[in-house]
């Protein structure tokens, strides 16, 4: 049995990597993937606590998160494709029309 703090530390690292990706990457696809990393870091946490506390609800919740993440990626990639078709670029820095 892997000890809980180790798992949590792993999940924190994973989340941080996701945060970095979201904030630093310019490629929209990479940003979406970084979001996936963050979601999965949360999933790891949920499952780890479920195992540690002997409660199934954490695992169920993780399944929901995976489902929502799939939907999110579906919509996200669709947006990225449309973006590419109109702007011929998926650089998030150039998508800044929604402002003052």
């Amino acid at each position: 049995m892997i000890r809980l703090p180790l798992v949590l530390m792993f999940s924190a690292l994973l989340f941080s990597a996701g945060v970095y990706g979201v904030l630093a990457r310019r490629n929209a696809v990479m940003v979406l993937m970084a979001i996936e990393l963050m979601l999965n870091a949360v999933n790891v946490n949920l499952v780890a606590f479920a195992a540690s506390l002997q409660q199934m609800s954490g695992q169920v919740f993780a399944l929901f998160v995976i489902a929502v993440a799939a939907a999110e990626v579906g919509i996200g990639l669709a947006i990225v494709i449309l973006l590419f078709r109109t702007r011929e670029s998926i650089n998030v820095d150039e998508v800044n029309l929604l402002k003052w």
Binding site: V22, V92, N96
Partner: protein, 665 residues
Amino acid sequence: MNVLAAEGEVAFEATTNGLWFVEHAWIVVLVPLVSAALTLAFGKRTPGKGAVYGIVGVGAAFLFSLGVLWHFVEGGGPFEGSIDWFTIGPLHLELGILVDGLTGVMVVVVTAVSLCVHVYSLGYMHGDERFTWFYVVLSLFTAAMLTVVVSNNLIQLLVGWEVMGICSYLLIGHWWEVKENSNAAIKAFITTRVGDIPFMFGIIALIAVTGFTTTNIGEVSHELGLGEVSPLFVSVAALLLFGGTVGKSAQFPLHVWLPDAMAGPTPVSALIHAATMVAAGVYLIGRLFEVFLLADEWVLTIVSIVAAITALGAALLAIVQDDIKRVLAYSTLSQLAYMVAGLSLGELGLTAGFFHLFTHAFFKALLFLCAGSVIHAVHSNNMSDMGGLRRSMPVTFWTMLIGSLALAGIFPLAGFWSKDELLVVAHEEHVDWLFIVFLATAAITAFYTMRMVMLTFFGEYKGQAHPHESPSTMTGPLIALAAATVGVGLLGAPQLNAVFGKWVFFEEIHEAVFVPWIALLSTAGALLGLAAGYVLYRERKAQDPLQAPLGPAWNLLQHRYYIDDFYMRWIVYPVRDTWSTAVNWFNQVVIDGVVNGAAALTRAFAQVIAWFDRTAIDGAVNGAGEVAGRTGNVLKYLQSGNVQWYAVGLFVGVIALAVVFIRVV
């Protein structure tokens, strides 16, 4: 005249046919008031310029008042009824009617004369510029006089009294384009006001007797009758009230306005300044007779003296007048003084005085309307422009002759009976000096009456116009009044039971007595006067035949005893030149200064407010907008459109919250 009947209570048992009219006597007041309002509102759009409202209204009131009088003819008692008006502190005011025999007679007199004058004015005022307005005020006056007559309380009486005053003012000044007419109106108004001020204080004194709880005449009389008020107080109150009479009934020394009031149209002179309004002062004494009887004796003595001076003095003045209306005006003064003097003789005198008021109203209205008819024909007031009119104006001549003989007191016309009764009362009360004054005045009256008739109707015509008989709207009322003049005297004839004394009496009915030697004496005096007048004025002379023999006395009479000059010199001019200048200065400088100062202050303050509004209030509002705008301008750069920067903010925030929660909480 029992005025102590409780509110709404009939002080007698048997009902009479006239009872309904008595109980609803307020209608008689309301009808002319409504007709005045209708004339005012619709008069100019009505065919005939609205005279129809006044004639129908006053005619209805006349018929109604006959019903009221019928109650007393049948032997009914007084009635009092009232509704609440308003209350000030303890003072309880009411609108009410007090109908006794005196009221019954007065409403008939007022409405009868008013009706005649309304009809007569159709002809006399035909084509007048302010014809409709004339009828409005005529009807309003009638309503006001009736208010005075039926009123059961002092305040309501005062209201009617003052409305009469203003109507008199408006009608004297009806042709105000001529300066003398408006001057006469102002003179009449101000002179009567001099009397009205003591009158008002007298009313306040009487209200004070009841502890300021009521103005009801019956209750005031009752309160006085308890004898708890000091006689001096009652005397002073009575004297103050008499001030109202002196003003309104034009007694010496406030008589000066009445001759000048002849500037008004003649029908007005007949109605207001001969038959009704001037009689209101006499009526006032009769209505508040209790007060005068409870006062010390010297009050009634003063009343007698004032009346005697007026009776004799005015009769003498009538001798020298050239203006036919002024002859009648001085005659009116003299006859009013007769009534006042009669009332000053006590309970017996009340009946006699009011009987004279009753008869005088008819024959004096008749004389004035006749004079109006003459003036209408010759376009002049002066008898020096008349003469020989009996042929061209037969109806006017005969009716005026009847009126003149009645005024002179010739049997069996109205004036004979009423003057005779006054003489009898003066004799019975042993007031010999008044008896002599009555007799002398009667002789002088006969003399100037004859002079007037001779100068107007006999001799040669002196004027320039072409005299003709007046239209039937004018002669009709003349004939009606002449018939009344012949008839009404018999109501007080002792031989015919003297029914008048059974309607108008104080406390108890006194049988009228006929004293043959007094009747003979008064007739002899009257005949003497008439004969002297006939002899002196049978032939027209360039100069008045009295002028030479009278010498300086003639001048004295021509200048009205210099009373008017005295008032002008010592009252009017000083007031006008000093007081009114001072008041004018006070008005122009102080009052206007205060008003303008207040305005300037308000303006200045408004400017401060405006500055504050523009600077502070607007500044705050605009400032708030400005601040929001500028802040937004700076902060808008936060919304860069760059999603990753938003995310940075999000995470920084989360971390900050985490730090706060962990470290602080």
